[in-house]
């Protein structure tokens, strides 16, 4: 699934708001995440949580400033551990590398642990085309793979699926009897996946962190599927965005405190795997080959732009989605790209080009809540503003604003540049609003752009007298009291 359809945000978001199914799922899951995070943070005094965020943010910033150095270190240390490192400029190259590795060992089946970067690459479709069966082993990812969908949420990809829908999917694909018992549904997936774990030739994972000084890939999972994927098949391929590098193994402790608390509200996830290369001669199990693919795929656009570099600090916890008033009403699919919510609204236009995602920077009320929950302190509202400025200043194909919106902004500018112009406009407005005002409210504004307001809200008519007039005529002379 490549980055498409982000251009459809206006339509897709309105449709999501009208979908009872999506609204029920969002109502149920979003509050759960927000409450779990708040609960997990209670154990720290606010200032120590703040210190951890500061430190994590500084470590990420420092690493990104010197990313070439750290990537070189990763390369050398993974090789020293007996693994191989590949650099991929884009999705196509990354896919080709995976396919080449798979074919070199005659793989017919690949098992996958959750990886957002592989979603970016559309890896599953490529593997299928090449005759290699990809099987997602994270339960949520498995469900959306069967449904042929993209993740609805960064950390809860199938949160929009009801148990009935999951039962139907299993019935269609695995021929199991329908059930609404969640435990039983899990057992169905478990037994289907066990078989795949045992027979797959190659295991593909993402990476939550890549530790430069040790050449270690860190995986954070809750279902144990990550560990199966990295230890049972003969070959392990880890795919990571270039921004996932952190300098030292002791930094991991800090990030492992921030990530699960911000994501699911857990103090620690069930499994934390540290993978440093393939099986050593003394090891009893583990893969014979270990590959790490480091993917750019648009990330350099962010890295080389000092204004946007900080977006690469993201550790994909999803906290900004859970707190975002917009995401909470429209869900993940409306954003079109792989990454949704506030951080998706920043990285999708930067990675795919503003042209294909020009509405996303405007898909925010700039309430600032995302910035306040971000464990690495990315100033998302500021980045959205910067994108808006670029979009407005860009060529016609990059603009989100319609010509009527642009006209409106120009009118606004000339109206408020002098008091006299404002008073003239107000007088005109008072004249024009007469016929559409009933009981001191306007129920329908028959003008472009602003007309959207009165779909669900009344509009206040201009007061008969401006405050400036009241001030001049009645208040100015009053003096104190």
């Amino acid at each position: 699934m490549t980055l498409v359809k982000s251009s459809q945000f206006r339509k897709a978001s309105a449709a999501a708001v009208r979908s009872p199914k999506i609204q029920i799922a969002l109502d149920r899951v979003m509050d759960h995440f927000v409450e779990a995070r708040a609960h997990a943070l209670e154990e720290f005094p606010p200032e120590s949580w703040e210190q951890m965020r500061e430190r994590a943010s500084a470590i990420k910033a420092q690493t990104l400033e010197n990313l070439d150095y750290y990537l070189d270190l990763v390369d050398r240390n993974v090789q020293r551990n007996g693994g191989q490192v590949h650099f991929a400029a884009d999705a196509a190259e990354a896919n080709r590398i995976v396919v080449d590795i798979a074919k070199s060992v005659g793989a017919k089946q690949a098992i996958k642990s959750k990886s957002m970067v592989s979603e970016e690459m559309g890896l599953n479709q490529v593997l299928e085309r090449e005759g290699i069966e990809p099987v997602e082993t994270d339960l949520g990812e498995y469900i959306i793979q069967l449904a042929h969908e993209t993740p609805f949420h960064i950390i809860a990809p199938a949160m929009h699926k009801s148990r009935e829908e999951v039962s139907d999917l299993f019935h269609d694909w695995l021929k199991t009897a329908p059930t609404d018992d969640i435990r039983q549904l899990c057992m169905i997936a478990r037994s289907a996946l066990r078989e795949k774990f045992a027979t797959a030739d190659i295991g593909i994972t993402g990476a939550n962190f890549v530790v430069a000084e040790t050449g270690t890939v860190v995986l954070v999972t809750n279902e144990g599927n990550g560990r199966m994927t990295t230890s049972v098949p003969r070959v392990h391929v880890a795919i990571s965005g270039i921004e996932k590098v952190i300098p030292a193994i002791e930094d991991v402790a800090l990030f492992l405190r921030l990530l699960p608390r911000s994501a699911t509200g857990q103090r620690i996830t069930s499994y934390n795997s540290f993978i440093s290369g393939p099986r050593a001669p003394s090891d009893e199990d583990g893969p014979e080959e270990f590959h790490l693919i480091l993917v750019d795929n648009g990330r350099l656009n962010l890295l080389k732009d000092p204004e946007f570099r900080e977006a690469l600090k993201c550790i994909r916890c999803g906290a900004c989605l859970n707190t975002c008033p917009v995401y909470r009403k429209v869900g993940g699919h409306a954003y079109g790209g792989v990454y949704s919510g506030p951080i998706g609204a920043v990285v999708t236009p930067m990675m795919a080009g503003i042209k294909d995602a020009k509405d996303l920077p405007h898909a925010s009320t700039l309430c600032g809540s995302c910035r306040d929950v971000c464990p690495v302190k990315i100033d998302i509202p500021k980045l959205l503003l910067r994108l808006r400025q670029r979009e407005v200043g860009g060529s016609a194909s990059e603009r989100s604003s319609t010509w009527t919106e642009r006209l409106l902004m120009r009118r606004w500018r000339s109206t408020v540049l002098t008091r006299a112009a404002l008073e003239r406009s107000a007088s005109l407005g008072r004249f024009l609003q007469g016929p559409i005002t009933r009981r001191n409210r306007i129920r329908k504004l028959p003008v472009p752009v602003l007309g959207g307001w009165t779909k669900a809200r009344d509009f206040p008519p201009l007061a008969p007298k401006s405050f400036a007039t009241i001030w001049r005529d009645e208040l100015a002379g009053d003096g104190r009291g």
Partner: protein, 230 residues
């Protein structure tokens, strides 16, 4: 104005004022916003404190002017001085004048909506609550998620009207569930937004600016917002 005067402040209203420029700034229209902001800085030149009755306008002047003029040392210096002189209304009363009880009286239950910029840019949330509790007869009933956005977001509200209205819908449910008759906020954007939907839905609750609440007492003519019949 009445509240400030009652607190002993000599208030003036510069006649040439128009807009702080946030409309353009938030929309990405940086150049237009700069021109409007320059007009604002000219009109409010001087040494007196500037009191702003709306959280997002106050944030624009105190915080975002510094970004808008970051590339011009002369204008940035002017923006910095203005930023230091500028106070949101409740901030000015509580932290500058050190007044929490302005002698207002209001019979009824009030709930408070934290406007986003006021809360997250200016970090003001205790001040308005203290002022509400200082109103004789008024009872503060907190709503669920008072710190969650009402969905206004300036142009957002007309660019994505369905999403904006859905966010607002949740806010109205929380207002209703609080049992309050009045929702108070210190932001004209949120107030227009909430008022518009309360009126459309024919709900009995009223949206009031904190200054309206603080000005209310017997003998004072307070402009009551329209209360349409359901």
């Amino acid at each position: 104005m009445k509240v400030l005067r009652r607190a002993g402040v000599d208030v003036t209203f510069p006649a040439d004022q128009t807009c702080c420029g946030q409309v353009g700034y938030n929309g990405g229209f940086e150049q237009e916003a700069r021109e409007v902001a320059l007009h604002f800085m000219d009109v409010f030149d001087g040494d007196e404190p500037v009191v702003v009755p709306s959280g997002s306008c106050a944030s624009m002047i105190k915080i975002f002017y510094l970004d808008l003029f970051a590339d011009d040392p002369v204008l940035l210096e002017r923006a910095q001085r203005l930023s230091e002189r500028t106070h949101e209304f409740s901030d000015f009363l509580v932290n500058v004048l050190e007044v929490e009880n302005v002698g207002a009286a209001f019979g009824g239950t009030v709930t408070y909506h934290d406007a986003c910029h006021l809360l997250r840019e200016l970090h003001i949330s205790a001040e308005p609550r203290a002022l509400i509790e200082g109103v004789s007869g008024a009872e503060l009933a907190e709503m669920t998620d008072s710190d969650r956005c009402c969905g206004f977001g300036g142009l957002f509200s007309v660019k994505f009207p369905e999403v904006s209205a859905a966010i607002l819908g949740e806010k109205l449910e929380n207002i209703e569930a609080s049992g309050a008759e009045v929702v108070v906020a210190n932001d004209c954007g949120c107030l227009m937004h909430m008022r518009g939907a309360l009126s459309r839905k024919g709900m009995r609750q009223r949206a009031m600016h904190i200054a309206e609440l603080l000005a209310s007492q017997s003998g004072l003519a307070v402009g009551q917002p329209e209360r349409p019949e359901a």
